[in-house]
Symmetry: C2
């Protein structure tokens, strides 16, 4: 069994400095990245890229305070933000670093109020890390909450929408100094205008939306999600010979299959990546699991039956290391374990299911809740 | 020969009230519509729809003062505006009337300055009339100038661009209460973001851009274009047995062909309508003229030779009435005269040709200036 220090040091060359309590430093960043990857259902963008950006920013500007919403002023303005678009593109179309400052400047200009804290609009994947990069540069606290508790591909799929927070004004920016302000008549139009603009920006951009005060954020977000990702990532960092088992235990997750990726279909268009992946069981020849993808893993099907589906979280892990593999990194021949665990309760309630269940993605089957309890069947 | 009064009264039911000097009223609106149609090179949107909107607004709010830029305060803010998108869509996707007020409110909010006058960004087609509708509602003067002196399909093809006026911020709006503010790093990006957003809005929207003060507008626009359209339309209204001849004389235009539309290919996508039209000579069997279209008539080709092309103006007239037929109204069997006349000088100079010549549209032939002098060959 490796020590945490050894694990950290192994591939990344990151010095094992102790992080202060309630802050994110170079020290605990890899744990956050690992946790975000697992919680992202394969989406939210490649956490390695997000981690490099956040590491650079923290290296330059110092650690970022992780703030509970109860510890921020009730009337302060929270800026939920992150990357939008196709993760397949985001891994190559890199940011210039100044996007967050431009989003914040535009938001402050539009509202006439200072931003008091940065919040990831989704905790999953690189989107749990990219806004941290911006928080470091802006020297603002990072809210210990997000708008999904996982990753989802579209704008209406944020808890702020369920809570009635307007999606407008929505500010977009890219690395070429373009900015866009959308004031849409409905959240559906925000999504539509943001998505086509994202495609126009080249398939990936950054956005801030669902601007709200801290008092609203206290009941309109998934709280504690950054801490949760940190804890999950730390546990994975401490894992011994069975890292997949550690993840299953930490999340009370089920393993749907362990095997080899034998087919990957992927298409990037309209600001999304869509496709499907087939995993063949390592032990039972001919036993297949099919994953349907729209940025995230949406559903796992076996012999035409739904094993797991949105809003529950389906994540593909490297069978050896237990690290999550985001959808844009899935390749033929990878040895993987596909796990699933319940999505946040807010999404499993009727109002949540209406925007995040299978039907919201055009999948023609009802929501089939994942059975939990640490069953490792697969 | 019909009198002007009879001509006006015939189809439109518009009472022949005298318009005040330097103003646009219900009385001279049909002349403006006719003139804009001819100057539009088939583009800018159906002037009939634009005229109905402007008539309704003038009926409610009174005549609009037509203002020379020399008579407006030098530091006043001019709002160039109009319809963007595919004319094929604009004739069915009608506005709600409040778009101009929303554009102006957003512009005033962005700049912190009041709009002192409304200017059509293109004089051609309905775009010479729609901003007049807004000017009437806002009780603002209408600038006797535009940004094209004709119609063109894209944002860089405005004289304000040649004069170095920034295209950002660009405000867009639609009839569903969506608004968008684009701040692009370049005019190319304004065009790109505006175009995909236009497609997203459903293929047509309205926009205000190239915001400038009156002093700048004095040298950055095609001046007198509204008066020119009015005069041209009035001459056409007075025309006798040979209205096509009247147009040719008024514009020192050449007739490229007179004949029948025998083929129309048209496709609406990406916020444009593109296609081609073939006209067969009425007298010489087998003699064909082919028009290439992107919103506007871009080029007229005969036996593979260029007879006329952008930035010169190619307009299709109804052979009987001399009224222009916009590209989205071209149909098999129409009896037409295709005429051409020189585009504004600013477009025929090297800098103008770079953004408005054949190459700017992907047409792989050099600019072939139209030969003028009232030659009616064809």
């Amino acid at each position: 069994m490796m020590t945490q220090r050894q694990e950290r040091g192994r591939g990344s060359g990151i010095p094992a400095m102790p992080a202060g309590p309630g802050s994110i430093d170079i020290d605990n960043l890899p744990a956050l990245a690992r946790g975000c990857a697992v919680m992202g259902a394969g989406g939210g963008g490649d956490p390695f890229v997000g981690m490099l950006m956040a590491r650079e920013a923290i290296h330059q500007h110092g650690p970022v305070r992780l703030a509970d919403l109860d510890d921020l002023p009730a009337d302060g303005l929270v800026m939920p933000c992150g990357l939008v678009g196709a993760p397949t593109i985001a891994i190559e179309k890199l940011q210039n670093g100044g996007e967050g400052a431009r989003l914040a400047a535009e938001v402050e200009d539009l509202t006439g109020r200072p931003v008091v804290a940065i919040m990831p609009f989704e905790i999953g994947g690189s989107n749990g890390l990219i806004p941290l990069n911006w928080a470091a540069r802006l020297r603002l606290p990072y809210v210990d909450a997000d708008g999904m508790g996982r990753a989802f591909p579209t704008i209406p799929q944020m808890t702020m929408n369920l809570a009635g927070v307007p999606s407008s004004p929505c500010v977009m920016a890219d690395e070429r100094m373009n900015t866009l302000v959308i004031r849409a008549g409905s959240v559906g139009w925000t999504e539509r205008l943001l998505r086509t603009s994202t495609a126009s920006f080249g398939g990936a951009a950054v956005a801030a939306l669902y601007l709200m005060d801290v008092a609203t954020a206290r009941h309109a977000t998934v709280r504690g999600s950054v801490s949760r990702a940190l804890a999950l990532g730390a546990a994975l960092g401490r894992a011994g010979a069975d890292p997949v088992g550690t993840v299953l235990d930490e999340l009370a997750a089920v393993q749907l299959i362990r095997g080899k990726v034998i087919d990957v279909e992927r298409e990037t268009f309209g600001g999304f990546v869509r496709g499907s992946v087939i995993v063949e069981d390592v032990l039972t020849e001919g036993r297949l699991l099919r994953l349907e993808i729209q940025n995230e893993n949406l559903a796992a099907l076996e012999d035409g039956e739904v094993r797991a589906c949105v809003p529950d979280v389906i994540t593909v892990l490297d069978a050896r290391t237990g690290e999550a593999i985001v959808t844009e990194r899935l390749r033929y021949g990878q040895q993987v374990a596909v796990i699933a665990f319940p999505g946040p309760e807010v999404w499993r309630a009727p109002a949540g299911l209406a925007v995040s269940g299978p039907d919201a993605f055009g999948l023609r089957f009802p929501y089939t809740p994942i059975r939990t309890g640490g069953v490792r069947a697969g």
